[in-house]
């Protein structure tokens, strides 16, 4: 990234240690009939570079919106969003796409692997859609699968994997681009309690060993014990 183009480079030193800084972020949706719904109101949040934050709230509370803004999928209506030292507040659609390729990882609620690709290929999708580093990406995918205990499952299709294994593949996919921040959207909701705990264990281990920050969106309080800190959100308002 050419920093000369970046209007926020003055911010960089101040926020270099932070994986994510949300400063007074508001998100307002205009409904069809003209009235406005505030999904996120004056949110302030910073996440340290190897911190795991649990974001807990009932459905409709704004946690998905927050997650989407942090991940560069949605733009905020006002406020500043800084991820890994980059101010993405005024990024265009195209810049956001490139940003997602480089800086963040996602693990979605419903696992969402590409059904016709093997575990290894599902990791390589990230490279194919983005940088296309080829051999380097293949080495990284093999290494990640090994670390996630899926070395012998690399050539299996998602349909041949268990629920927990699929979630591990999804974690591997999120880590492919060496992100500054990984966003987990209800990572355990489709799993039973025991499997859910195992997956959270893995998440914690992987994040800590890589010194990567994470936000785990959940409505399950039990998950919070695997996180460093819990932030509650209700009706678009954050409470530490």
């Amino acid at each position: 990234m050419n920093t000369a183009d970046d209007p926020t480079q003055n911010h960089q030193t101040a926020t270099a240690e932070q994986a994510l800084v949300l400063d007074d972020v508001r998100k307002v949706y205009r409904m069809g009939d003209g009235h406005e719904v505030v999904a996120l109101d004056r949110a302030r949040l910073s996440v340290g570079s190897d911190e795991i934050v649990a974001l807990v709230g009932p459905s409709g509370s704004g946690k998905t919106t927050l997650c989407s803004i942090a991940g560069g999928i949605l733009s905020a209506t006002s406020g500043r969003v800084i991820v890994g030292g980059r101010d993405i507040t005024d990024y265009s659609e195209r810049q956001l796409t490139a940003f997602r390729q480089d800086m963040v990882g996602f693990v979605f609620q419903s696992v969402n692997l590409v059904p016709f690709l093997t575990a290894r290929e599902n990791l390589l999708v990230v490279d194919e859609m983005g940088k296309r580093t080829g051999a380097a990406a293949r080495r990284r995918a093999d290494q990640l699968l090994d670390e996630l205990g899926l070395g012998d499952r690399a050539r299996n299709l998602p349909s041949q994997l268990s629920g927990g294994q699929r979630q591990r593949v999804a974690i591997g996919r999120a880590l492919m681009n060496e992100p500054e921040l990984v966003l987990f959207d209800e990572p355990t909701s489709a799993l039973d309690t025991q499997l859910g705990e195992q997956v959270m264990e893995i998440i914690r281990t992987e994040m800590k060993s890589r010194q990567t920050a994470a936000i785990v969106v959940t409505h399950d309080e039990r998950i919070t014990q695997y996180c460093d800190r819990t932030v509650h959100i209700t009706d678009g308002v954050l409470e530490a």
Binding site: S59, G60, K63, T64, C67, S68, G71, I73, L74, R94, T97, A98, F99, R100, Q101, D102, F106, F108, Q109, S110, N112, V114, P115, F116, L117, E121, V125, V126, E128, M129, G130, L157, R173, N177, L183, D185, E186, V217
Partner: protein
């Protein structure tokens, strides 16, 4: 793109319906095209084979040999037009020919041409009573040395050689000298008898461009309609109608291909909405996803085109000579394939908007 192709390999079943329909359409497209080429070829061969620049008809003939007459006076006028180097009379009579050994109601349809300048492929104007025959007549059992009996008068002519691609409106041509033609015409079509030295049309060789020469001949005589060889071939009855009709059918077929491909890939896109949302969230551009779709459509189309080309070549080999006038050429197959590919991409374009509209945010919080 690579993953799109991998999907084709891993799940060929999903694309089977589209491939089968497209193969049918490709066969139809290539079949219609080859049939058109064959029909035009077998209609116009004898005119295209004329070894000159301009064909001159009388002006009321509407470019029909049977209704045209050029008498020696007009011919002399034409020969004095600047730019005219050489002229040769042309006459035609279409008859049934009895072939020795064939059933007595089994006639070969022939077009006997009397010429003064031999057409391409005929070394010289044959002596009276002898003819060069078009290759297509071999399927009627005609060989070198065969004596054909022409028309109800059973006028005899002997085949002394063969020539290719000189059919006239679907009939095999026989090439004779002018006297033989005049005699056969008089014996079999007394109502169409022409005087000595009168021809139906005049082939002109010139030293300027054909269209200009044709115009100056018509101006000089005031009673002729002169056409370049290409125009004369296109002016044959049915040629333009056939081209028009077939090209319309080919056009409709292509539109149908666009609709089928469009619907099929719209279906695939709808099924993949969630997946595309995820890939977009992971940083995939719409262009990357659309390129994958186009790549799949192109591969499916190419497979269909290859199967269709194979089927058509097999069909061509299976059809006995003299049957359907199918002219299967690499050009036609390539042109059909390219048209089909364009139709495939156009069909995919219907899905572009749908892919554009997919919101990466839909990947997050789905179900909540």
């Amino acid at each position: 793109m690579r993953f799109a192709l991998r999907e084709l390999r891993r799940r060929p079943g999903r694309f089977a319906t589209a491939t089968v329909i497209l193969t049918l359409i490709a066969i139809l497209l290539m079949f219609l095209g080859s049939l058109l080429d064959g029909l035009i070829r077998s209609s116009t061969g004898a005119i295209r084979a004329q070894d000159g620049d301009v064909l001159v008809y009388s002006d009321a003939s509407r470019a029909s040999l049977a209704r045209s007459l050029i008498d020696p006076g007009v011919r002399a006028e034409i020969e004095s037009v600047p730019g005219v180097v050489d002229t040769g009379g042309v006459g035609l009579v279409q008859l049934g020919a009895r072939v020795p050994g064939a059933g007595e109601r089994d006639l070969a349809a022939v077009a006997l041409f009397g010429v003064e300048i031999p057409p391409a492929g005929v070394p010289e104007v044959p002596p009276p009573g002898q003819v060069y025959a078009d290759e297509v007549l071999r399927s009627d059992g005609i060989a070198i040395g065969t004596e054909l009996l022409l028309g109800p008068a059973r006028s005899p002519v002997e085949v002394i050689g063969f020539v290719t691609d000189t059919s006239f409106i679907g009939q095999g041509a026989l090439w004779s000298d002018a006297a033989t033609w005049r005699e056969v015409l008089e014996q079999n079509r007394p109502g169409a008898r022409v005087g000595d030295e009168v021809f139906q049309a005049l082939l002109v060789r010139g030293d300027t461009d054909a269209d200009g020469l044709a115009a100056s001949i018509d101006t000089a005589t005031g009673s002729t309609e002169s056409l370049s060889i290409t125009d004369a071939a296109n002016a044959l009855p049915g040629v333009e109608e056939q081209q028009g009709t077939f090209n319309q059918i080919i056009g409709v077929t292509l539109v149908i291909a666009v609709v089928v491909i469009g619907l099929f890939f719209a279906l695939i896109t709808v099924e993949r909405t969630a997946l595309y949302g995820v890939l977009k969230a992971l940083g995939a551009h719409t262009s990357t996803l659309f390129a994958g779709l186009v790549a799949q459509a192109a591969v499916v189309t190419l497979i269909a085109a290859v199967i269709a080309a194979g089927a058509l070549i097999a069909l061509d080999a299976a059809i006995p000579p003299g049957g359907l006038p199918l002219d299967v050429t690499p050009e036609r197959i390539i042109v059909s394939t390219v048209l089909l590919l364009i139709a495939a991409i156009a069909g995919c374009a219907f899905s572009l908007r749908r892919i554009l509209k997919i919101d990466p945010a839909s990947a997050i919080g789905s179900g909540s």
